[in-house]
């Protein structure tokens, strides 16, 4: 027999899956609009070890560092400088698991997309591996990891080499520590099951984190 309490927990967990999908979607729509300050609000503000890892760049540790990255890295494209910029990262192929205790969750997505400035258009496919945490009743990004698949201008195959990221970042945008995982398509490396889709779990343990 299903009790009222068990049913309420099930409904809560299903709502959590929906809210997490919506949270990721909101991040993408903010990204398209170039509203990077607002993106930072989607991260955990006072949970320890809030981390952002971006392929080819590194790890930003703590909400202040994450804010520094989002605002300063996008300073080049403010106001009229945003004309001709378009970053689209479509969320697809979700695997979302909410912990049995309802306090954390994990999700992975494959994202076909484009990164565009007036100077350059790029096909950019990435994967997301994200750990979520509940803060004051709301889901927030806790460990947010963007993994490259390939990045290439139209008309050039990704087998001929990917568009290169900036060789060095200004000191003010530099990450706090190096990447924990580096991979981008090349014909001399094999694909790995990273990020691995989450499996159902009861409570959080650090070994499953998408940014370690």
């Amino acid at each position: 027999m299903t009790s009222d309490k068990t049913l309420a927990e099930e409904v809560r967990r299903l709502k959590d899956v929906h809210r997490i999908q919506n949270l990721m979607g909101k991040y993408e729509y903010l990204h398209v609009a170039g509203w990077h300050k607002e993106s930072v609000d989607l991260f955990a503000q006072h949970t320890p070890e809030t981390l952002l890892e971006i392929a080819d760049i590194g790890v930003y540790a703590g909400i202040d560092s994450i804010r520094r990255f989002y605002i300063l890295a996008n300073k080049f494209a403010e106001g009229d400088d945003r004309l001709g910029h378009l970053h689209l990262h479509t969320l697809t192929t979700p695997v979302i698991e909410v912990a049995g205790d309802g306090e954390t969750a994990q999700g992975v997505w494959v994202s076909p997309g484009v990164e565009t400035s007036p100077a350059q258009a790029l096909w950019a496919w990435v994967k997301y591996g994200v750990d979520f945490v509940k803060e004051d009743g709301d889901w927030k990004f806790w460990h947010f990891h963007i993994y490259r698949i390939f990045m290439t201008p139209p008309g050039r195959s990704w087998t001929e080499g990917n568009a290169r990221p900036p060789r060095s970042l200004p000191d003010e945008i530099k990450p706090d520590r190096p990447n924990t995982y580096r991979w981008i398509y090349s014909f001399d490396t094999a694909t790995e099951n990273v990020p691995a889709p989450p499996e159902p779990y009861e409570t959080w343990d650090e070994s499953r984190a998408y940014v370690k």
Partner: protein
Amino acid sequence: MSSEIERLAAAVERLRDVHRIQNLMSRLTYLNEVGAFEEILGQFAQKTPGVTVEIGKRGVFEGLEGARKTVVDIGNLMREAHNGGMREAFPGAAEMAGFQENQALGSPMIEVAGDGKTAKGLWSAPAAQTQFSPEEGRPAAFWVWIKFAVDFVQEEGEWKIWHYHLLPMFRTGFEESWVESSLVPLKPPAGFPEPDRPSTEYVSPYSIYTAPKYLPRPPEPYETFDDTFSY
């Protein structure tokens, strides 16, 4: 338990089922990416009669044996063809180096039967695929678009794949318009097995000579599998 609680409990179970089915399909694409074909086969119904795999106009493959021929054998065939080409062209290349396949499941439509025993799902999937090209002597990159139309069945409390229908829409070199590439018919890989019977509801891949059709039909709410159509 009140009837209202019973009703809510059933509704919750159906919502959980939608989530599980999306996770199942998504997990398949992650497994496909790394060639874990035996694990994929394990996601098919193991005890329910009538398992089928249908691929475009290549026909229908029946039972778990048919699923093995298509999912496992064809998958391994493609990967070995890639490895063979790579070993010859790039001696010392790591196993599966340069091979890549990402299918992005988009636009999901999932219906779980009212009786909870079966479900139907339809997805539209852009994909990027890279494999060794004998013509080019190196890996070549392709844009691919596929539709997945799948019937699911419950076995011992878990959702399993029952009828698995792949409909290729186009496959084109990265630099080529699919209008151009459609002028050359898609060929199956060498060694493609013979089907058990012809294709059912065939949907032509993109062609300048065919008009779009509302196929596969998106699933509609239904009570039992007898009330709906089969993919």
